[in-house]
Structures are given as structure tokens and as C-alpha cells.
């Protein structure tokens, strides 16, 4: 089988760490894993897309998901979920969106307002089979003290919703292997996400 995940967010949100967690978890699960990080010029505050593609060992799969072909979009920032729609389509893609808008400075400078959550949902509705809005940053901050744990929380949520074909055990193992600081809090975040998704 093939399962294509797109992760998107803003530099500093932990997109790349989460990508590596997912890739390792999928690897422990027995998949062949491909993916790519497209960070380059993106410093703090830049847009960062990343992919994780799960497939079996007898297939050759290229690093980036094809246009209109993602199974899952994990968006750590709402505005960027709209731009991820390039990789999504109505009959296939599920969106999980962290309700934590980070307003780009250029919106300030150029006087372009940041869209409301309703508008964001409307814009992606033509590309989504289903949309989940999760208050990941907010709950992570509330319960664990920092917003950054929200990304692993999102993995817990997606897992509980049946959107990750990887076992809890393997995700936990990957978190332990990948996250450099505060492993316990990340594992707690994962459990909170699981609860929220159930």
C-alpha cells in the first residue's frame, strides 16, 4: 500500500522534527519510507513543507507527493493548510489543522488581513474529504507549558482518528529516538492527543 502524508507549517514550529518522528515510526512499522524537507531559505517564520511517504519495499517512490495525491495533510498553522491544498483532493485527503494562526509580517506590511477559520475551511473544502481542527498549541501550552508540544499532540490526535497506519508503540519509540529535549512532555502530548481524538 501507499500512504502519502504532507506536513506543513512555519519555521520554528517543529515541522521537520515531526517529519522525522513520523518517518522513523513508519520505518519501525515495516514500511519503506521516503520524504523530503524543503526548508532552505526558510528561517524562523518562513513556510516549511515536508513529506513522508509510506510504501512497501518492492516499489520505487520519489521523495515528494504528487499534486492532488496526499492522503493526509498535517498543518501546524491554518493559513499554510490552504497552501497545502495543492497536494490535496476532495475524494482522498483528510486535513488535520492546528488552530494556532501565526500571522505573517507581510500581512501587516502589505495590509492583507489574515483569514478567519471559517474562511480557511471554506477555501479548502473543495480539496478535503474531511477537516479536523485541533486546538493543539493551546492545549499543549495549557497542560504542558509550551506550544511546541502541540505537534506531537497532533500525531496522537491523527492516530486516534485512524489517520496514521502506524502503531502507538512505534510512534512512541520514534518520539523517544528523535526528540532531543523533554521527551516525557512530548510523550504526554502524544497521549493527550490520543484522548482528544477518541
Amino acid at each position: 500500500m501507499n500512504y502519502d502524508i504532507m506536513l506543513t507549517g512555519v519555521g520554528g514550529e517543529g515541522v521537520l522534527t515531526t517529519q522525522v518522528v513520523l518517518a522513523r515510526a513508519a520505518h519501525y512499522q515495516g514500511y519503506m519510507v521516503e520524504g523530503v524537507q524543503l526548508h532552505g531559505l526558510a528561517q524562523r517564520g518562513g513556510h516549511i513543507p515536508a513529506f513522508v511517504r509510506l510504501h512497501s519495499f518492492n516499489q520505487t517512490v520519489s521523495p515528494a507527493v504528487m499534486q492532488a495525491n496526499a492522503d493526509l495533510v498535517l498543518a501546524f498553522e491554518p493559513l499554510e493548510s490552504v497552501r497545502a491544498a495543492y497536494y490535496a483532493r476532495k475524494d482522498k485527503t483528510v486535513f488535520v489543522i492546528n488552530d494556532d494562526p501565526l500571522k505573517p509580517v507581510y500581512g501587516n506590511i502589505l495590509d492583507i488581513p489574515y483569514p478567519s477559520m471559517d474562511e480557511i475551511k471554506k477555501r479548502i473544502s473543495g480539496f478535503a474529504k474531511d477537516i479536523h481542527i485541533v486546538r493543539a498549541s493551546e492545549i499543549a501550552k495549557q497542560k504542558l507549558g509550551k506550544k511546541i508540544y502541540g505537534n506531537i499532540l497532533m500525531l496522537g490526535y491523527a492516530k486516534a482518528k485512524g489517520l496514521l497506519p502506524i502503531s502507538e508503540k512505534n510512534i512512541i519509540k520514534a518520539v523517544k529516538e528523535t526528540v532531543r529535549y523533554d521527551v516525557d512532555k512530548n510523550l504526554k502530548a502524544f497521549r493527550i492527543g490520543l484522548e482528544m481524538g477518541r
Binding site: 512555519v10 519555521g11 517529519q19 522525522v20 518517518a23 522513523r24 520505518h27 514500511y31 519503506m32 519510507v33 521516503e34 520524504g35 523530503v36 524537507q37 524543503l38 526548508h39 532552505g40 531559505l41 526558510a42 528561517q43 524562523r44 517564520g45 518562513g46 513556510h47 513522508v52 516499489q59 520505487t60 517512490v61 520519489s62 521523495p63 515528494a64 504528487m66 499534486q67 492532488a68 493559513l79 499554510e80 490552504v82 497552501r83 491544498a85 495543492y86 483532493r89 500571522k103 505573517p104 509580517v105 507581510y106 500581512g107 501587516n108 506590511i109 502589505l110 495590509d111 492583507i112 488581513p113 489574515y114 483569514p115 477555501r123 479548502i124 473543495g126 480539496f127 501550552k141 506550544k147
Partner: protein, 626 residues
Amino acid sequence: MDILKKSGEKVVLLGNEAIARGALEAGVGVFAAYPGTPSSEVPMTIARVAKKRRMVFEYASNEKVAFETAAGAALSGVRAMTAMKHFGLNVAADSISPIAYYGPKAGLVVLVADDPNGWSSAQSEQDTRYYARMFRMPMLEPSDPQEALDFTRFAFDLSEEFNIPVLIRTTTKVSHVIETVKLGKLKKPRTKGSFVRDYEHYYNIRPGLQKLHREVDRKLERIEKKYGQKLNKVYNRNSNSKIGIIASGVSYQYAAELSSLLGLKVPIAEINMTFPLSRKFIANFIKGKKAVLVLEELEPIVEEFVKQVAKEVNPRLEVHGKDMLPRYGEYTLELLLPVFEKIFRKSYGLDLKAHKRKYEKAVEGLPPRKPVMCYGCPHRSTFYAVKKVFGNTKNVVYPGDIGCYVLGIFEPFKMQDLVVSMGASVGIAHGITRVSGQEVVVFVGDSTFFHAAMPAIANLRFHDGKSPLVVVLDNHVTAMTGHQPHPGSGFTATSDPTKAIDIAEVAKALGAEVRVANSFNQKQLEQALRELREVKGPRVLVSRGECRLFWRRNMIRKGLSWPVFEVDQNKCQKCGVCTDEFSCPAITKDTSGALPVFRIDPNLCWGCSVCAQVCPYGAIRVKKEG
């Protein structure tokens, strides 16, 4: 650490990590590099394990010095490697060319990472494959991390077998790809050797030069003969399709995926050695075929070769490639799909054009998210002060340079009028002042200063008179590529202390009038700029402020916190200077009410205090506890 796991294990590695592992499996003894994305993670990975592996690792002051370091070691019998981005090869080229003729005594490998589409680079989409021909060096091109690992290890053997340095070329979509990779055996590095004097061999003055040139060409012929068939691969060899695909680099991955997506069983030739290209391999592949589709990003190098070979062995062969695909940018599955559909007369059944139109409508009118300087970035503060003193009219020119400060190209500063190459801003500024009465202010990073700006600054004093003002943005590290140390940092790649070279002292010694200011102090910056504005000859402002991202990481590591700032809503006059002119991303403007409301996100404020200094009404202050 996955990178040091045992032979036979399968781990998920980044392409660049896989290259590092390949070098470790080859027992590399000396690794020197100047960081450049998309190649940066290769030296970063080696740096992390160098002490444990008891090998030599250095960040050099530029790519040329890095290559020379590796070459010196390899000429002394120690396996050595360097890695660089495409433009880095331009810098190192001057020394690579003669070393290719000499040939090393132990394996010498040069990794170069191209960046079609400019994910991490502005400037140009140069195709470094041309260099292999010019240097007379074999070039291997992996298509994924597993091949990157295997080819790197093999490159050392190839280099030693023929006494020739070897180039490995990747692109972003190989270097930044993660994949399940099977590890080979680590080899203990040898780090001791000695240079053996050999006038006969190193005599590269005419007629010795021609002899060396002839020898290197012979080596290439032998490499083509021995490895041309072996290194390149054919998939679906037994297919009876009259149309074949020839692909190299990541394009092979696209070809394989699209073939299975469309249910095609077509033969695919994967070109893994792009120089020397094997005439025999191509001839065998195209014999009896009606058409081939050649897939390679950027220049049609393989394609031209296929056309040449076809003239001899299959003159009626249709060769497709750049007639259907662009020479610019990257290939993607969606770009190649219609070409496959047309050539193989199959349909995937999805209207991607309509999808794209729908997508473009969905994102219409959204606020752009261009990359920005970090919260509390010292460069933002310096740009702000320079703009305040010099303005941004036609009478002032701001030649830019390579580093985080290239982000000054965007609003609200727009103070990188052109971006050329490492250190080029100073030379170009000099040329402008030779012919124009405009004021010229250039921005150069600290790492860039050591890399290539010093010769251009020396040149200013040499021809003094009217001179540009050189602003050195000294944030203590090579920030853009991941905070690597440089000769001014005071520590080495392996975290050992070393004497930092003072940029202000160097600038003085190069004949410039110098001022030093704290990047986080607007008054100091302004005063220094105003003073230097009156100086006629060469002048340098060293704006000193530690990279805030690096600073913050160290603060967190030490368990320290910092004061954050807030807007006093009673004092705020809604002028918008903090958001529209200073534009720290931690400050937001809420326009939902009748009057805008400005706020600083306490989670994002890195406490640099400069917003409080630029606020004309003193309305920004340290946030009170709780």
C-alpha cells in the same frame, strides 16, 4: 545515533547523512568544508562524530581552502573529502582543476550539491555537471539516499584505483530526502600520512603539463571502459517496449514511480556516472528502439550525448527531453506526468490542470509568507539604523551579499539591491563608486567577510578615494547554514576553543576607518553610521550582535529566561512603526476594530529590546511579571 549504527541495520537517513555515513564507511581521515545548503548536513553530521571516530574535521574559511585541505591530506596518503554547494565549486574550482591532473595518493572525494529551483539559494541554477568535463574528473550521481551512501563509499575506491579525485553530485531532492537506508561496515579512519616529493610527477610546467593532461584523459578512458556498464543500470531490461527512458539523479525516481502509476513496463536506463558517459552503455540501450525520453534536470547533457551516439548506432531514433520539458527549475511528478501520458499514450485520469486552476483560486488574496529574519535578529536592527541614516532613495545603493541578511531584500527594508556571490558586494560597490556619485552601503556577514570580502576591502585602500561604506553584520557564527563556527567565532567545529580573529582589527589592517557598534543599540549604530558617512576613504562598520536564534538556544540549554516586551496600550499612538517599518514578526497588528491594536506575542519575543528603542512614543516596555 543512527549514523554510527552497525552494518546491516536499516535506518532512516537524510541524503546528506547517508553521504556522511558513506564517507565513514570508506574510512575518511580528513574532512574539511565550508557550509553551504543544500550540502550543509554532510559536514554537520561528520562534525558530530569526528572526535568519536578519531578523524580530522574542520570548517574552513571558504570552499577553496576546504578543498585544498582535503587535497593536501590526500596527496599525503590520507583519505579525504570535502562537500559544498554548487556555487562553492566555483570558489574551489581554481584549485580543483590542477589537482585533477596531479591525482591524489589516497581517495579524494568532492561532494557538490546543486539546487535547481533555488530552494536554498538565489543567484543561479548552475548545472555543475559541466565542471566534471572541464576538470577531467569522474562524476557520480546518486538518485536517492541509499545510492548516495553506496556511491560515496565507492568513490573513495574509484579515486584510489585510478589516482583521480572524484566528484559526487546531488541536488536538493537527493540531499534533503529521507529514506530507509541499509548500512554497510564502518571503517577505521587512517589520519597519518606524509607527502613524498616527486618532481617528475608534480612537474606541471610545459611540457609536463601536456603529459599530465594526457594521463588524466587516459584514466577517464579506462574508467569508462571498466565502470561504464557496471555503474549504470537498466530496469525492465526484458520489456519489449520500443520506447525507453534514460534518467539520471532524482529523475530516475520520478520515471520509476510514474511508470508504475501508469502501469507501464518500459525499460529505464539509470545513468549513475554522468562523466565519463559510457558510449557502449547508451549504444546497447538505444539499439532497436524507436524513441527514448531523456530525463535530467537543468541542462541537456545526457540528452546531447544520446543524440551523438544515436547518429552512429540508430540514426532514426527519436530523442525527447528538453523539447518537452524546461531547462529551468526542478522536475516533479506532476510536471512529468503529461509528458509520460503523451509519449506512452496512457491516461492517469486526473485533470491536474483543472486542479491547479482551482487551487490558484483557493489561495488567491492570502497574505504571503515569505521568509523573514528571526524574532530579535540583530540584522533587522542594523538594517533599520542604516535606512534611518541613509534612506532608500535613488541616491543610495545597497549591494547585497550571501547570508541571512539576504532577507533584507523583502519589505519593509528592500535593501539588497542585488545579490551576486560571497563577498561580491564590496567589489561591485567599488565598481559603482568608480563611475557614480551615488552613496553606496554594502552589507557583508562575518563568515562572508573571512570567506571572500577581505581581498575586496584591501582593494578599496589600494584605490582609495571615494569608497563604499562596508557594514559587517557580525553575529559570531555562520547562521544561515546552521550556526557553524568561522575564524572569528572563537571555537572550532569540534567545539574546541581557538583564538578568535577580530574583524575590526582585520579591517583596520586592511586600511579602513573602523567603528564598532552593538547591533542591539540603535543610538550606537546611528552615531557610528553618521561618523563614517563623513569619512572619504575606505570605512567599515562592524555591527556586533550574536545571532539571536543561537543565543536563545544557549539560554534554553542553560535553563535561563529573558525579559519579554509588551505594548503599553495607553501610550501607543497607533503609528505602526513597529510593524510596518521595523517588522519584527513577534509584533502583530489587529485591524479588526476601528483603530488598529498592536501586540507583542510573549511566546515569540526574544527580548532584544530594539522595538522599544524604535517606538517614537516610548510605548513599548519590559513586560511585568504575571
